[in-house]
């Protein structure tokens, strides 16, 4: 078999640039998607008029259309109506909106498991609804939702490879770009598979530690 490790070693700097771009775009989008998830989940659970319906529509729209179409809509569609974003921010926006829809559902599911008694106890203590939501319901829901949130974050990281379709120089783009000139497809795709696996493993390990930390009050 002709598998050239030396070639991969020589390409390492280009791959590293790709990894860094993948990480930058993914981490920003993970953070933004969590903000969307918390705010959107809150709007739906608290049934805030108009906002709750808008969030429901957004979630359905994202979940029932292909992410590639969403990406093209943002990158090619929005400039046509005067909203032009850079390559990088188009990528961040696409992944944030895509994962945000799933995070809304994750947060909503977590909040649904918080017992009504917690709300009554908060009311009996004269806590304001915002205190109840931010300090009681959300922290309890977060523990329940964390595995689902991690799954969404992992999917986001993997889906960042779609951004090669608009020419953002993330990991998959770098690999495809190199293959176009060097024809080392098996080496390149093997390499980026291993790198994606490693990135997901790190993300899962970090979340696992967070989860263990958060679960301490409940383990007795």
């Amino acid at each position: 078999m002709d598998f050239d490790f030396d070639y991969l070693l020589a390409q390492w700097p280009a791959l590293l640039d790709g990894v860094l771009m993948t990480l930058r775009v993914s981490l920003l989008a993970i953070a933004a998607s969590l903000v969307i998830g918390v705010l959107g989940g809150a709007a739906r659970v608290m049934k805030i008029p108009l906002l709750a319906q808008f969030v429901a529509l957004y979630v359905e729209l994202i979940r029932n259309t292909p992410i590639l179409v969403q990406l093209f809509f943002i990158f090619y569609g929005l400039p046509a109506i005067g909203m032009e974003l850079s390559l990088f921010w188009s990528g961040v926006l696409c992944l944030s909106l895509w994962a945000g829809a799933y995070q809304v559902e994750n947060v909503r599911g977590g909040l649904a498991t918080v017992e009504y008694g917690m709300r009554e106890a908060s009311m009996a203590l004269s806590l304001k609804p915002i205190h109840y939501f931010a300090l009681v319901a959300l922290p309890i829901a977060f523990r329940t939702s964390l595995p689902a949130m991690l799954n969404t974050a992992i999917s986001l990281l993997k889906n960042s490879s779609y951004l090669q379709a608009i020419g953002l120089a993330e990991l998959t783009f770098v690999a495809v770009d190199r293959i176009a000139t060097d024809f080392r497809a098996i080496e390149m795709f093997s390499a980026i598979c291993v790198i994606y696996l490693a990135l997901v493993a790190v993300l899962a390990a970090l979340t696992g530690r967070l989860s263990a930390h958060l679960q301490r009050p409940f383990q007795h």
Partner: protein, 246 residues
């Protein structure tokens, strides 16, 4: 005696179903009123109306000679809660917070006290119920009886003028019921005004200044425990007490 609570013609409907059918009740400062009655008689719904966990359909509630609170006045109803503490059947401690954080959350967030003062007061309250060593523990590390004692002092940390108990011992193991009842007896002895919905007839007999028998959404009869437990007037009361005491 100074009136602490005045309830007039209180009604509560859930849709077509009327659960509380016109209740009048006066409670004096320092008085301990124990409400007994069959399940589904509306007694829990009634006390939940007193701190507006349920919004009364009609009637008025006045706490400590303050503003008369009419049914339908949501904002005034919400203000009621500031003066009324409540202890629930299932403790409802916040599971992700330590005992101390459970107790200081409301006083600090409502700007009743600085964090340092709130913590000092919380520790003093915990000491009173013998749980100062659990201050940094989580609710899941406590027995049911310990959790309920924490729930009581969490309510006390808000310095309520009236404390409501909704079947506070019904979810407890028999061996921990006594600890919780002892804390409640201590509060009664110190002059806390309390309304207690319970099936603990021993507690009612020993601690209550007045026993209220509630059935079918109404107060059927009330009086001092000596009279209620030995010579109840109404047939409905006699029947109920006969079934629970024998």
């Amino acid at each position: 005696m100074k009136p602490m609570l005045t309830v007039r013609d209180l009604h509560k409907h859930f849709g077509e179903h009327e659960v509380v059918k016109g209740v009048d009740l006066d409670v004096s400062e320092g008085e301990v009123v124990v409400i007994i009655g069959p399940s589904g008689s509306g007694k829990s719904t009634f006390i939940r109306c007193l701190n507006s966990l349920e919004e009364p359909t009609a009637g008025t509630v006045v706490i400590d000679g303050g503003e008369s609170i009419q049914a339908g006045n949501r904002r005034a109803l919400a203000r009621l809660r500031e003066d009324v503490g409540m202890v629930f059947q299932d403790y409802t401690l916040f599971p992700h917070m330590t005992v101390l954080a459970n107790m200081t959350l409301a006083p600090v967030k409502l700007k009743r006290a600085s964090r340092a003062d709130a913590e000092r007061e919380a520790l003093a309250l915990l000491e009173r119920v013998g749980l100062q060593h659990k201050a940094d523990g989580y609710p899941s590390e406590l027995s049911g009886g310990q959790q309920q004692r924490v729930a009581i002092v969490r309510a006390l940390a808000m310095k309520p003028r009236l404390l409501l108990f909704d079947e506070p011992t019904s979810a407890l193991d028999p061996e921990t019921v006594g600890d919780v009842l002892n804390v409640m007896k201590g509060l009664a002895a110190e002059g806390m005004t309390m309304i207690v919905v319970t099936h603990e007839m021993g507690f009612a007999r020993e601690v209550a200044d007045r026993v209220v028998f509630f059935a079918d959404g109404r107060i059927v009869e009330m009086g001092p425990p000596s009279q209620m437990f030995t010579a109840p007037k109404e047939a409905r009361t006699q029947q109920f007490l006969h079934s629970v005491l024998h």
